[in-house]
Subunit: 720 residues, 2 copies
C-alpha cells in the first residue's frame, strides 16, 4: 500500500506540469523522458559534469544542466571543477591540458570564437562513457551544451555523436521594434518585454529566460529598440537601464545594440544640427559612444534607419548614407563597435518604383563605407510581403557587407493568429541564385561572406516577441524565432529538420504526431501566400494596421502606400510591369535572373504579378487562365488551413491540453480570415476581370461593399 | 533500490513546481500538503464528492476540486452525481431532499442567492466523515467550495467547521480602466488582459483563471473598460467580444458591466445630440440595451463617468446627473440592469475647493434617482491619495444607494514597485463613523445598506490587474485584489486576518514566516503615508504620470491639478484650511466629525494638513514642532521599508526562489524611492519653513534643483 501511494504520487507530479503548460518554457521544456530505454542510454552522460570555470557563463551552464537533468531525468547533477574524471559530461576549453586524454589526435583548429566540438567517447579508463565538449571560449561550450541537451530532448542516439559546429554567420541577431512606451511596432504578442520603468533596479526573470532561449539557438546580438528610434534611449538614465540588460545577457554570449536616431545630437545633445560632417556632431557621437562603452564594454553598436519613412538622416543635410554611417562608425570604432545601416529607404519625393530605390541609392555607394559598417537589407525589395523575390542588392555590393533582415513578427502574415512557419520562405530566399559574381552565388553565400569575403556577416530577424506568457502569441510563432537562430547559425539546415527539432522539443516526440505537425508547418507558408497574395500579388492588405485584405485601398498620402499602386488591376489584367516596358526594375538583377523572370514562359507562377501585368485570360503554366488560377489559389490556401485543422485534431492526445486548445481556436480564426481574404480580393478583382468564379471555389459570403465597410480602429501593432 | 528511485522522483516532482513559481497561480496554488498529520485529517473529506449538477458551474467546481486535490493531496477525485453517499464532500442545493439526512434540524433560511452553509459532520451512517456545503444556488455552492479549499490550504481544523456565510454587499466588483488599445490607464502590471483583437474567436486561458480567482474571493461583477470611455465598445463587433468574455465568466458567477460614454449616441449612433431628455437619445439607449441583453442576458449594466475631467455628460445639455442616470437606467431596467454613476466630479469652471464639489453637486439630487441607479463614491474626497478622510457623501444620501470605489492599482502609492498592503486603509475608511443618521453609522454600514436600507449595495476596486505573468506586477499587490474581494464579501473581517489567509495560500504556512510577512504587510500602508504624504499632506506627486514627488509643481492647466494648490506651503506653515476660516469643506461632515477635526487639539495628526494650515513650529500631539514631526515621519517611513527588507531576507528559505528575488529587488527600489520622496519634499518644504532637518533624520542626498530636474517621459499608466 505504501509503495502504491508513492507510485501514485510519481504519476501525479509527472502529470501536473503537463497540464499547466502555457508555452513560457519555449523549446527548453525538458520534459521527463518516459522511455526507460532512452533514460538508461542518457544517464551515463549525466553521471558527473566536469565544469572547470567558475564564472557567470559557468554558472549559466550549471543552472541549465541542472534544470534539464531535473526535468528530463528527475535529478540534479554532480559538478566537478578540477581534474576531469572521465565520466559523464566533460566540458573543456581548448587550453585544457587534459584534452589529449579524451580526444587523442583530434584537431581543434578552426573552431573560432564560438564554435565547438562535441563527441561521445570513452573516458581515459577506456570504459566509462563520456560526452566531451570542447571550445575556445566559454560561450562555445555553452553552445555545445545546448546542442547536447537538444539531442537528448530529441532522443538522439548519444553514443554516435561526433559533431563539429562553427557558426556560418557572425552576427546572429534579433531586432526588437520596441518603443520606450512599452508598445511594440508590429508586435502582436503583447507589450515589450523590456520593463524600462523598473530597470535597472529590477531584473525580470524574463530577461534571463530570453537570454537562455537565444543562446540555445545561437543568437548573439540584440537590438533593443525600434528602428523608428527615440533618442531618449541614449540619455544617461536609459543607458543605465540598457547596461542592466547587457549585464543580464552577457553570461549567455549576447551583445546589445541600440537604434540611434540620427537627429539625437539635436534632440538630446542641444546641438543645432545633426550634419554628419559637422565637427560638433562628430564629437557628440564620439563622446556618446565612449559614455556607452564605459558602461557596456561589449556594446555591439548602432542600428540606424535613416532617410526612410520620415526618419531623419544625412540627406537632410545634403549628405549621403555613407557620410552618416561612416561618421557614426568612427565613433564606435575605437571600442570595436559596428554600425548597421538599413537599406530600407524610399524617398517621398521621387516617383520611382519603390522596388528600385534601395538599389538605386546604395549601389553607387559601394566601396565608400568604412570597414565597420554593415548594410542591413530586407529579404525582398518591398516590405516583408508574404512572398517576395530576393532583394536585388544581394550580390550587388561586393565591397559592402550586406546582412539579411528577415521579419519574424507577422506584420503581413496574419499577425499572431495565423500558423505560418517561415523557414521555408527564409530558405527560398537564402537559396536564390543571385548569379553575382557567378552562377551558384546564392543569397546565403553573399551574406555568409563566401562570395565576397565580407569582414562582417549577419542575419537579423525582426522579433516576434512580447509580454504574452508564451512570448509570441501563437504557440507556433515560437518556431520562427527558433528557425531564425538555427539558420543564422547554419543556413544549410533544412526547414524540415529545423521544424522537427522544434516540434520534438516543444510538443512531443511521438513519431506520428511529429510527422503530422511537420506536415502542417511545412505547408503553412504556401497556404498563407495562396489565401493572401497568390501568383505574385503583393501589398494588398489593410492600410496602416496591415490587418486583412483591402486591395481597393487608394487613399494614402503617398501613391506607393496604396494597394492599387501595387496590383494595378484594370480591365486588361493585373500585376506590376517591372520589365523593360514598365519600370524595368528587373534590370537590377543579374542577366540570367532577368532573362528567366522577363519571360512569361520561363518565370515561375509565383513571381508573375511581381513583374508582369498579366491579362486575366492569359493561359499560365498549368493550363488555366490567370483569373481561374487566381481563384483556385485562394481556395487552395483555405483548403490547406482546413486540412491543418483536421491534422491538429488528430494529434490532440500528444499535445498538452492548454496549447492544444489555444492552437485549435487560432486555427479557427485563421480559417475564417482566409475565407475573408479570398472573398474580399475576388469580389474586388472580379470588378475588373468580369469573369465568373470557377467551379471548385466557394462563392463569396458577402458583396464587395460589405468587405469595404469593415474597419479595425484598434488593430494591434500600429503604434510608433 | 527501486523504492529509493521512486522516492527520489517524488521529491523531484514535488520540488520542481516550487522552483518555477512565477505568481501566475495567485492564491490558488494548491501546493502539496507536506504534513502527514494534516494530510490524514484532510483525506476523508476528499474521499468522494457528491456533485449533483452537471452544468457549467458544476464543471467549474469539478475542475477546481480536481486541481486542488491533485496539488495538495496528489490525486484526482471521484465524483458522484446521484444519491449522496455520505462520505467526503457533499454539495447540496437547498432543494435537495437528502438535506435532513445530513443536517437534521438546521435552518437554511437567509442564505440568499449567494450565501452558503458549510459544516463538517458525519454521514448518515453515523461514522464516515463528510463536509456538507449547502446553498440556494450553484454559485453559492461554488463559493462554499472555495471557502473549503481555502481552509484546507491554510491547514485549518476541518472537523470544527460549521460556518454560515452570506455576503454583506451585493455588487462585489472590479473596475478595469482598460482601453481598447490594450493600454491600462493607471495600470502598472502590463497591458490589458482583454485581448480585444482575438476575441471572440480566441478565449485566453487567463479569462478563465481570472474568473476563478475572482470567484474564490466572492467578486461577482466586472466593468471591463475604462471610465474615460470609448463608445466603440458598444458597437456590434465589440459586443460580440464582450459576449465571449461574459460567457467565459458566467460559470463563475461573474456579470459583466461596460462603461458607457455619454456621447455614444452621437459618436456611434449618428444622432446630433446626446441630450438625455431627447426622445431619439432615449430610444437609442433603449435599443442599444436590448441589443446587449440579447447577447448577454445577465449583463450587469453601465458604469458612467460623466461631466468629470472632460468626459461628456448631461450637463453639456443643461441637464443634471439624475437626468442622465435615469435615462440610461430606464434603458436597462426592463432587463434587470443597473446604472452605476460616478460621484467623482469636479468642474473645470468652478473655483470651489475640489474637495467639496461632489457633495455640493449630489446631495441636492438625493431622492431624484431611479431605483436602479447606484452612486459610486471614491473612498475619499480628492482622488485615491495615500490617505484620505472618508468621503462626506457617505451617509449624506439616504435615498440614493452609495457604493464604495477603492483603488487597487497604486496610482498614488508607488505603482507596482512598492509593497503596500491596502486593507488597513480600506478598514480605516469602512470603520470611520459618519454619524449619519447617528453615532455608530460607519461607512461600512452606509454601503452595506444597514443605515438606510439601500436596495443596491456595492463595493468596487479599480483593478490592479494586467498582462504581467503574476497579474499585478508586485507579488504583494495580489493581496490588495484579494482583500477587496474578501472585504466586499464581509467587511467585518480584519485586515490581519485577510493578510494571513493570503500569505498562507500564496507563500507559506510556516508560522514564523507568516508572522514576519504579516508584520511587513500590516505596517506597509502607514510606511508609504509617512514617506510620501505624512500628517495630512496630499496630492504632491509628479504631474500627469503621478510618479514620484513634485510638491513644487504649479504649471497645470487647472489650479486644482497643482501640488501647490493642495499643500499651500508658505512661510507661516503648510496645509489646506478647510475649516470655517478656509473653504469650510468640514461643514460637509456631520457635527461630531466637524467638531473633532475642526479643533487642532482633537484632530488626529494624520488629518492635520487635510483641514488646517498648520504653522511650522506648531507643537503637535507628541510634543514636537510640526516641522520636526514632518521630517521624522518621512524618516520613519524609510526606516519601516528598511525593516521590511530585513524581514523579507529572514523568510528566504520559506518562499519560492523566483518571487523571493523579485520582492527583494522591488524592496530595493522602494527603499530608494522612499528616500527620494523624503529628500525632494523636505528640501522643498524647507525653503518655506527655514528650519533645520532635526537629528535622527538623514540629510538629503541632493539639492532641490536636482529633484526638480528629474523627468520621466515614459512613466507607465499615463495613457487614456
Amino acid at each position: 500500500m505504501r509503495q502504491f501511494v508513492i507510485i501514485l504520487y510519481v504519476i501525479v507530479f509527472i502529470s501536473k506540469p503537463v497540464l499547466a503548460e502555457n508555452g513560457y518554457d519555449l523549446w527548453l521544456r525538458y520534459p521527463q523522458i518516459t522511455s526507460n530505454a532512452y533514460r538508461q542510454m542518457a544517464e551515463p552522460y549525466f553521471e558527473k559534469v566536469f565544469l572547470p570555470f567558475n564564472t557567470q557563463t559557468g554558472e549559466a551552464i550549471r543552472q541549465e544542466l541542472n534544470r534539464a537533468a531535473l526535468g528530463m531525468l528527475g535529478h540534479q547533477l554532480v559538478f566537478e571543477e578540477k581534474n576531469a574524471g572521465g565520466r559523464g559530461l566533460v566540458l573543456l576549453l581548448t587550453s585544457d591540458k587534459s584534452i589529449p586524454k579524451f580526444l587523442p589526435g583530434t584537431s581543434l583548429e578552426g573552431l573560432g570564437k564560438e564554435g565547438f566540438l562535441i563527441k561521445s567517447t570513452k573516458g581515459p579508463d577506456g570504459k566509462s562513457k563520456c560526452m566531451v565538449i570542447v571550445a575556445n571560449s566559454e560561450i562555445g561550450i555553452l553552445y555545445g551544451v545546448f546542442e547536447f541537451l537538444r539531442k537528448v530532448a530529441m532522443q538522439a542516439a548519444l553514443s554516435d555523436i561526433n559533431d563539429r559546429q562553427v557558426p556560418k554567420i557572425g552576427l546572429r541577431m534579433l531586432n526588437h521594434w520596441d518603443n520606450l512606451t512599452m508598445t511594440v511596432e508590429r508586435g502582436y504578442a503583447g507589450q515589450s518585454i523590456w520593463k524600462w520603468h523598473t530597470l535597472p533596479g529590477y531584473i525580470d526573470q524574463r530577461y534571463i529566460d530570453y537570454a537562455r532561449a537565444n543562446a540555445s539557438i545561437g543568437i548573439n546580438a540584440v537590438a533593443l529598440t525600434n528602428v523608428n528610434a527615440n533618442a531618449t534611449v541614449l540619455t544617461e538614465p536609459y543607458l543605465q537601464k540598457v547596461k542592466a540588460l547587457a549585464d543580464a545577457f552577457r553570461p549567455y554570449g549576447i551583445r546589445v545594440f541600440l537604434t540611434a536616431r540620427f537627429s539625437a545630437p539635436i534632440e538630446i545633445g542641444k546641438l543645432k544640427t545633426a550634419d554628419p560632417l559637422d565637427e560638433n556632431v562628430k564629437k557628440w557621437w564620439a563622446d556618446k559612444s565612449r559614455e556607452i562603452y564605459t558602461l557596456i564594454p561589449d556594446f555591439g553598436g548602432f542600428l540606424v534607419k535613416a532617410n526612410s519613412e520620415g526618419q531623419p538622416g544625412p540627406q537632410n543635410y545634403g549628405r549621403n548614407h555613407h557620410d552618416g554611417a561612416n561618421m557614426m562608425a568612427s565613433a564606435v570604432k575605437p571600442f570595436g563597435g559596428v554600425v548597421i545601416w538599413r537599406a530600407f529607404v524610399y524617398s517621398s519625393e521621387t516617383p520611382e518604383d519603390r522596388f528600385k530605390q534601395p538599389y538605386t541609392e546604395f549601389v553607387p555607394l559601394d566601396g565608400k563605407f568604412s570597414d565597420n559598417v554593415i548594410l542591413q537589407v530586407k529579404n525582398g525589395p518591398i516590405d516583408f510581403q508574404p512572398r517576395e523575390p530576393f532583394h536585388p542588392l544581394f550580390g550587388a555590393m561586393p565591397k559592402t557587407p550586406t546582412m539579411m533582415e528577415f521579419q519574424l513578427t507577422q506584420e503581413y502574415l496574419g499577425f499572431a493568429t495565423h500558423l505560418v512557419y517561415l523557414a521555408p520562405m527564409f530558405k527560398e530566399v537564402l537559396e536564390a541564385d543571385t548569379y553575382r559574381p557567378q552562377k551558384g552565388s546564392t543569397v546565403a553565400k553573399v551574406i555568409d561572406g563566401s562570395s565576397y569575403g565580407y569582414r562582417h556577416t549577419g542575419m537579423a530577424g525582426v522579433a516576434n516577441i512580447g509580454s504574452d506568457i508564451n512570448w509570441t502569441g501563437h504557440p507556433f510563432a515560437q518556431a520562427n524565432w527558433y528557425a531564425l537562430g538555427r539558420l543564422a547559425w547554419n543556413h544549410s539546415l533544412g526547414s524540415e529538420q529545423i521544424a522537427r527539432e522544434w516540434i520534438e522539443q516543444t510538443f512531443t516526440t511521438d513519431p506520428a504526431s511529429v510527422h503530422t505537425i511537420l506536415n502542417m508547418m511545412t505547408g503553412s507558408h504556401e497556404a498563407v501566400v495562396n489565401y493572401m497574395t497568390p501568383l505574385g500579388l503583393h501589398h494588398i492588405m489593410g492600410y496602416g494596421h496591415h490587418y486583412g485584405p483591402a486591395p481597393w485601398y487608394n487613399k494614402a498620402a503617398r501613391e506607393d502606400w496604396n494597394c492599387t499602386y501595387f496590383h494595378k488591376a484594370d480591365e486588361k489584367g493585373i500585376g506590376f510591369d517591372r520589365t523593360a516596358t514598365g519600370t524595368n526594375a528587373l534590370a537590377q538583377y543579374a542577366g540570367p535572373v532577368q532573362q528567366q523572370w522577363n519571360n512569361l514562359q520561363t518565370i515561375d507562377n509565383k513571381w508573375l504579378a511581381w513583374f508582369h501585368h498579366v491579362p486575366w485570360n492569359y493561359q499560365i503554366k498549368g493550363g488555366t487562365s490567370f483569373w481561374d488560377k487566381l481563384c483556385l489559389s485562394y481556395q487552395q490556401g483555405i483548403d490547406t488551413v482546413s486540412a491543418m485543422q483536421r491534422q491538429w485534431t488528430s494529434v490532440k492526445k500528444n499535445v498538452n491540453e492548454q496549447q492544444f486548445r489555444q492552437v485549435e481556436m487560432l486555427l479557427g480564426i485563421q480559417q475564417k480570415e482566409a475565407v475573408w481574404w479570398k472573398d474580399a480580393c475576388l469580389t474586388y478583382f472580379q470588378t475588373f476581370s468580369k469573369m465568373p468564379i470557377p467551379a471548385g471555389v466557394q462563392q463569396p459570403q458577402h458583396d464587395l461593399d460589405y468587405y469595404k465597410s469593415l474597419s479595425f480602429p484598434y488593430a494591434p501593432g500600429n503604434s510608433h
